[in-house]
Symmetry: C2
DNA sequence: CTGTTAGCGCGTTCAT
DNA sequence: ATGAACGCGCTAACAG
């Protein structure tokens, strides 16, 4: 049987308004009727129709997810999909659902903001965003609760791994512990804030410790993924190699490893390598990749908590960037 | 400025009803006014509020996605996430959005069907489902447009890779082309229809060609993923190995490869291996994995087309199982 | 061909 | 503490 607050009201000899009040914990209802209603609702399995609530109340208990496709990172990406999964778990547990924000829907084009208004989402989570994307800045200006991970937009709260720490720990290990003389970098595409920060941290470390950086030891991968890493490694090989190498992300690093293997360069004998992310596959590869582990679950849940907090206290104005500490995981590509 | 059909109607000196008609391509509107309205709508960036449409029309232009977590396959899974991505692309292009069906939302529990009613989704796509999940069968009984991939539920249209063909091609290659004497199988968990079918096909092939199967040459992986494959391989190694080996899926196969490598078993000299799926990583692994390539994009778009067709013609009653042909990709784990 | 109007199911005053 | 009634923005049926 199809139920509305009307039917269940009449079943209980009450009025629709009262039912609404107990559902939304609003207004005054006697403890007794409250429990009676709750019990009945649970028994018959009544659930309020979302669209009607949304229409009336301007809330949706839905969080819009920006997963930009411009960067050609798909749901397949091991890092972002994992973060999204953890985020999803957390917010669902708190009663929120996820809905992908899409700007091109059939023939309609709308900005993220328009989409949010239209869908009345309670908040927005930017998992994958492109700095070239105007829509993100528009979102930041409007007062809609919004968090991002891995990308830094002025006006938006961000949770991002401590890239400076990651690079520092890596370089300390290579220069100090393992006493290498030179360390190169295969940097990821610089549109990504994370990659950008890692590159900056790399330079800053060398400046601070008065260590030289040979220009031919720094190569930029064209894009994300294995193939970009492979290409970048080929380019690096054109010149004498450094003794150690940092790579912007694991998926790129695996391509680098493969290229070296194909070219007969031994790891870690000829060159020691450290990746970034600790994707699931890093430890399964041969040789197993030494890498900077990002706590994806912590990043995701921190983002989720922050967003829910923002949703419930829209008066928080101070933008915040939360850094999540990282950890160096030693495996077979370093000594 | 906030707009509704009323405001734009008055801006154009028309009535709300007319606006609605042109938006929904329903009823009779003169070509002239139609274009006038469309132009104005585009100019001011008006988009109908979804919740109001839904409330009234029983449609949502949303497709519910079942991505069961019981199987511990997350968004991270390379095969399923890829399929979902392709599906998403296709339906978004047709004007539909995706929303994850979640059965446990905060304190509320509802069945898939209840959720669908509540959200008024136009159809359901089952990407990852568990045969033990009652909710799936309930869904099949009700008349809600529904398709699945990789899982076969009576009453639900399915798009599934041609597993019989995949196994046949693999075994032909090993037994016939490469003249092996014995081929084993590391089967995936049998709750998955795909894995079940591959196992059945494996047996059927041997029966048909009057080839023996040694029981110790068949091992069942406990679960999905690299680690399960590694474990299964260890178990296989306890007895004399077959000359060839089929593995239920690539992610499992990569674990198998690693185990063999660790145990000093050479591939393909000591044993030839064929995986299943052709995940992105298969060709990057060393040795590159020979595998049965599933056309993930074709599977996904076929599913999407089928579902949209079902949504638009609810009178189609005949359940259909569409088999998507596969292709053997020869790489370095076979000769 | 265009306009009018009655709900869709719910949340929220304002009375009682 | 409970109820009545209005309206959120839209669609569809009907009237003109």
């Amino acid at each position: 049987m199809k139920r509305t607050i009307y039917t269940i009201a009449s079943e209980l000899g009450l009025s629709p308004g009262t039912i609404s009040k107990v559902i939304n914990r609003t207004g005054n209802v006697s403890e007794e009727t409250r429990e009676r209603v709750l019990a009945h609702i649970k028994e018959v399995g009544y659930v309020p129709v979302t669209s009607a609530r949304m229409l009336k109340s301007k809330r949706s208990y839905t969080i819009g997810v920006v997963f930009s496709e411009d960067l050609h990172i798909g749901l397949e990406h091991p890092f972002f999909s994992s973060i999204l999964q953890h985020f999803k778990n957390y917010v669902e547990n708190e009663g929120y659902e996820l809905s992908f924000i899409v700007s091109k829907l059939g023939n309609n084009r709308m900005s993220y903001y328009e989409w949010c208004m239209n869908k009345k989402v309670d908040g927005v989570y930017i998992v994958v965003g492109d700095y070239g994307d105007e829509g993100l800045y528009e979102l930041a200006k409007k007062h809609i609760p919004c968090v991002s991970t891995d990308i830094l937009i002025p006006g938006i709260h961000s949770i991002i791994s401590d890239n400076i720490m990651g690079i520092q720990v890596s370089l300390d290990h290579l220069y100090h512990t393992n006493r290498l003389k030179s360390v190169g970098l295969i940097a990821g595409p610089q549109q990504s804030k994370a990659f950008f920060e890692r590159y900056e941290a790399f330079k800053a470390y060398h400046a601070e410790h008065q260590l030289p950086i040979r220009p031919e030891h720094v190569v930029f991968a064209e894009s994300f993924g294995f193939t970009s890493g492979y290409q970048a490694a080929l380019k690096l090989i054109e010149n004498p190699l450094p003794e150690g190498l940092l790579v912007g992300s694991d998926d790129i690093a695996l391509g680098v490893l493969k290229a070296f293997k194909d070219k007969g360069i031994r790891i870690p004998q000829d060159i020691q390598i450290i990746g970034y992310d600790d994707i699931a596959f890093a430890k399964h590869f041969t040789p197993a990749l030494t890498t900077v582990k990002q706590d994806r679950e912590l990043i995701a849940t921190t983002a989720a908590k922050k967003l829910l907090q923002l949703i419930n206290n829209p008066n928080i104005k101070v933008e915040e960037v939360i850094r999540i500490p990282v950890e160096l995981v030693l495996r077979d590509t370093t000594r």
